[in-house]
Every structure is written in structure tokens, then in C-alpha cells.
Symmetry: C2
Subunit: 296 residues, 2 copies
């Protein structure tokens, strides 16, 4: 029976939609994907877009969706659950989506300070964190457009910090004066490592960024290497700030192969010498199953 | 005779072109401006654009131009002069532009490290620095798209640091997720001062930026205040890094009124309690005259 479909899991991000037929343990039996992310949809479009992507799968399978579908501008708002949060707390906050199909939306998580002020939020990463949980205290790093560092204690999410690293890197590379210097993608090479080192040594990011331009004017930084230097600066700045905030401890790194190829060596440079790489899809599917099984 | 036109001064920036009829002391007798900055011109277009803007002024007046007209992608390249640099050194590096009119281009300045590697550059700010010079050691702050901090000793330019503050602020406000939070311009108000304080206390910029989004989700930061918070974060980060690099000392602040209204109180918060505000046009005109009079 463990190989039967228990439910359909969904990760509905801003720019992507991915669906899996999952066993009760979160093992994927089948998957599909679409570029119809939340960012391009009005609330009324979610149900038909999903029906379209799921066509041919049994229509009576229940659905559990995490990610931006639960944002205020998404399908239906699933209000943030406060930290600390675990699978039962997230399951308690599930919100049913409107429509014929039985769809539940996973809430995001919110960190508040001692005065009750919101200090950080995440949607989607809470499910990855639940899926990637391990016994004892842990630190999860989820690089991306908005990188999330998540402190866990066993299967409980304790704390959270967002870094706008991917968005900053993308804007600087494509839209700033640095675009003239850049030809080609970032690689985890000596140029990247040197930039990471400078930031770990405490160089302020606002002071460091223009060096990409200057070194390229000097013909010291080739166009093919400039993206490596820029990525090293912004990722190095993230790791320096993350280490100051959360300290050194074993890290689980959840992301796509390109980001993992940059963050894994940069984390090692930063003193994180025990980095376990976890596949993002695997973490989402496992997390969805934990939340599914924790429903009240 | 001191009220006669000695030469025409030009500040030819990336997005703007401004010209003045100047006395030998750099007092402006007349001025004109055009949006035909270097960024929108091919080398062959500079001479006719200038002829057009100067129409009606005597064609035999000599011309001295500073700014991006001397960049590699400009009218004619005026190679960077190494630091330390003063008016005679800049005058020695003047390059004649092609065409019928007698036009000289002021070179930029370049800071190099002990190994001879280029570490920073400026074009245009060298002329402002010469024009704003005062006896003894000094620190000049020129906020803008690429803010420049310039250490001077009397009329000599000693050191230089660029911060991409204005460009970072503009990209984040217009193109990042933070754009959803922002409605209205930045003001030097309590929200701005609070953000500056956070950065001066050592908060890393990569960690702080997402707070604009989070506080706006929390309804704690009104749309009308979000630009003030973002500006306070990036300007505060610049001042924290600039102070670490150059130390505290009397500052001369050269910029437009909006930037001065933000930087003057932020510098004061950072411990710069002697800030003298200098009009940017005045500094350029004075600097052009010093360089003009120092010609070999």
C-alpha cells in the first residue's frame, strides 16, 4: 500500500509550478511542471491552470500545495504561522482553496521580535525545512532569489533570516554599470573564491561592488570571470552575515545544482566544514508528506 | 577684465551635459544644459551636439570639458591620472578633442594599490574635488549614482573610494520585490534616521534589505515611508563603510539638494559633526578654472 498515491503535492512558486503524485511517505510516483507561477496568475486562474496540468490524473485525489499560492496576492491567503513551528502547527494552519477539487494550502512562517513585530517571513521554505529536518539543532541554508537561513531544532523551525542575494546579483549583473564587465555565467573558481574571501574578511558590500568594474577596466578581470567575482561578493557577504547571525554549525544546503556548486565551497570557506547537500525537490516532497500526515 | 569670458567650461556626464561661460576665476557668466549625456552619444556626435548647444556664443572661445566625455566610450579617451593628483597634474593630462573647435578634455583619476593594480576610478569628481579644495587634510563626499569619497590634502587628491549607492537604491526601488512596498520619495525623516542608525550599529546590508518588505507586510511601514527606509539602509551602509575606510574628520558634501538633504543628517548621525555643504555646480566651475589656469 505504501506505493499507492496518497495525495498530490504542489510547490507553487512565483515563477514555477511543480506537481507530484506522492506516497504517504512523500516518495514521488510521477511529476509534472509548468512555467505558470503565481506571479503571472490572478486568483481565478489557479484552479483551471491546475486542472490543466493534472489532466489524466484521478480527479478525486486530495491536493496539498505549498509556496506562493498561499500569499495575499495568490490563490487564497494562508496566514503566516508564528515561530517556532512544526508540521502539526503548519497542518493546523492549512487553508482550503475555492473550487471543485479538494486543495489545501500550506501557510508560510513568520518570525517576530520580542515586541511582536514581524521581522521575517518565508513561503515554501517552511516545507523544505520540515522535509530536510534531522535530530538535534540544525541550520538550513536555502539559496535563491531570496535566500533563507533557517535554524531548526529537530523537526521544529526556530528562526529565520532572508537575504536578497539572488535578486541583488541578478539586478547588478543585468541592469547596473557592472553589466558592461560581465560575459558569461558564474563558476566556483579561483576568482569566485577570492571574492568570497574578501567578504569573509569583513569588507563591506557597498564598498566592494564597484571593484568588479574597476578590475575589468584594468584588464585584470576578464569578462568571462566577472560574474564569478560578483557572485563571490554577494554570496560571501551573505555567508559572513549569516555566520554572524547564526554561528557555525553543521549546515544542510537545499537548492538547485548551480547554486549548490557555488554555496557549498563558499560555506566551507566560511568555516562551515560539515555541509550536507539535500535535493530541493526531495525536501519539498518529504515536507509535504509530513504536513499531510500531521493534519488534525 | 575679471568679468570677461576666459573659456567655456563643460561637465559632460553620462546622462547630462552642462556648459558655462566662465571667467578666469571660474565665475559663471551664463549657462546652458542639455539631456544629451555621453551615454546616448557615439564619438562622432559629440562635436555637433556641442556646437548646437553653444550656438550664439563666440566660436573662438576655448573649451575645457570634464566628466564622461573623456571615458573610453566617450568623445576621446583622456587616460586616468594616478593619485596623488593636483590641478597641474590634471592639466598635464589634458587631451584635445577632434574637430574644428578648440576643446580640451580633463582626465579622470585612478587609485592604485601597492602592487600597481587599479583599485578605483573617477571622472568628473576630480574637478569637483579641485574646486572644493581647502587648506589641510580634508574629506569630500560626492553622493550620486556612484558615490565618491575623496581624501584631499590641500589642493591634492590623495585617495578615492566608490560606493554604488544610488544605483543600488534605484534598482532595488524600481525592479526588486521591494518595489511593491514603495509609494513616494525618500525623506530625511524619523524612518530614514532609524534605518541609518541600524546600519551605523553594524547591521550587514544583505541582512537588512528584506526588512523593507517585511515591515510593509506587517503594516508597520507605510508605502509613503518605505523609500525613506530603503534610502536610510543604503546610505547608512555607505557612511558606515566610508567612516571605517577614511575615519572621522570635517567633511565637505558636494551634491544636489535632495541628496544633500539625506546625506547631511546621515553623516551627522555617523559622527561627522562638521559637514560643510558645497554646491556641485560651483565646485565644478571653480575646479575647471583651477585646471585651466594650471595648463603648462
Amino acid at each position: 500500500m505504501a506505493t499507492d498515491t496518497a495525495f498530490i503535492g504542489i510547490d507553487w512558486g512565483t515563477t514555477n509550478l511543480r506537481v507530484w503524485r506522492l506516497t504517504a511517505q512523500g516518495d514521488p510516483l510521477d511529476s509534472r511542471a509548468s512555467p505558470q507561477g503565481m506571479g503571472s496568475l490572478s486568483p481565478a486562474q489557479f484552479a483551471p491552470v491546475l486542472d490543466d496540468l493534472l489532466s489524466g490524473w484521478p480527479t478525486d485525489l486530495p491536493v496539498l500545495a505549498c509556496g506562493m499560492a498561499g500569499a495575499r496576492q495568490g490563490w487564497v491567503e494562508a496566514p503566516y504561522v508564528p515561530l517556532p513551528a512544526d508540521a502539526p502547527a503548519l497542518a493546523h494552519g492549512l487553508v482550503a482553496a475555492p473550487g471543485d477539487r479538494r486543495v489545501l494550502i500550506v501557510p508560510g512562517i513568520a518570525a517576530r521580535d520580542a515586541q511582536g513585530h514581524l521581522v521575517d517571513v518565508a513561503r515554501g521554505e517552511e516545507t523544505q525545512a520540515i522535509g530536510a529536518a534531522a535530530p538535534g539543532p540544525g541550520l538550513l541554508v536555502c539559496p535563491g532569489t531570496h535566500s533563507k537561513w533557517i535554524r531548526t531544532d529537530g523537526a521544529r523551525i526556530m528562526d529565520l533570516q532572508t537575504f536578497m542575494t539572488g535578486e541583488l546579483n541578478g539586478l547588478l549583473a543585468a541592469k547596473s554599470v557592472l553589466r558592461h564587465s560581465i560575459g558569461g555565467p558564474a563558476r566556483p573558481d579561483a576568482v569566485f573564491r577570492q571574492a568570497v574571501t574578501e567578504m569573509l574578511e569583513g569588507r563591506p558590500l557597498p564598498e566592494a561592488l564597484f571593484s568588479v568594474r574597476v578590475q575589468s577596466l584594468d584588464d585584470r578581470l576578464a569578462a568571462k570571470d566577472a560574474a564569478s567575482r560578483l557572485s563571490g561578493l554577494v554570496i560571501g557577504a551573505e555567508i559572513a552575515a549569516g555566520a554572524a547571525r547564526f554561528g557555525l554549525s553543521p549546515v544542510r544546503l537545499v537548492g538547485n545544482p548551480l547554486l549548490v556548486s557555488l554555496y557549498a565551497p563558499a560555506l566551507a570557506q566560511g568555516g562551515y566544514d560539515a555541509v550536507e547537500v539535500i535535493d530541493g525537490d526531495h525536501a519539498v516532497c518529504r515536507g509535504l508528506a509530513h504536513i499531510w500526515n500531521a493534519r488534525p
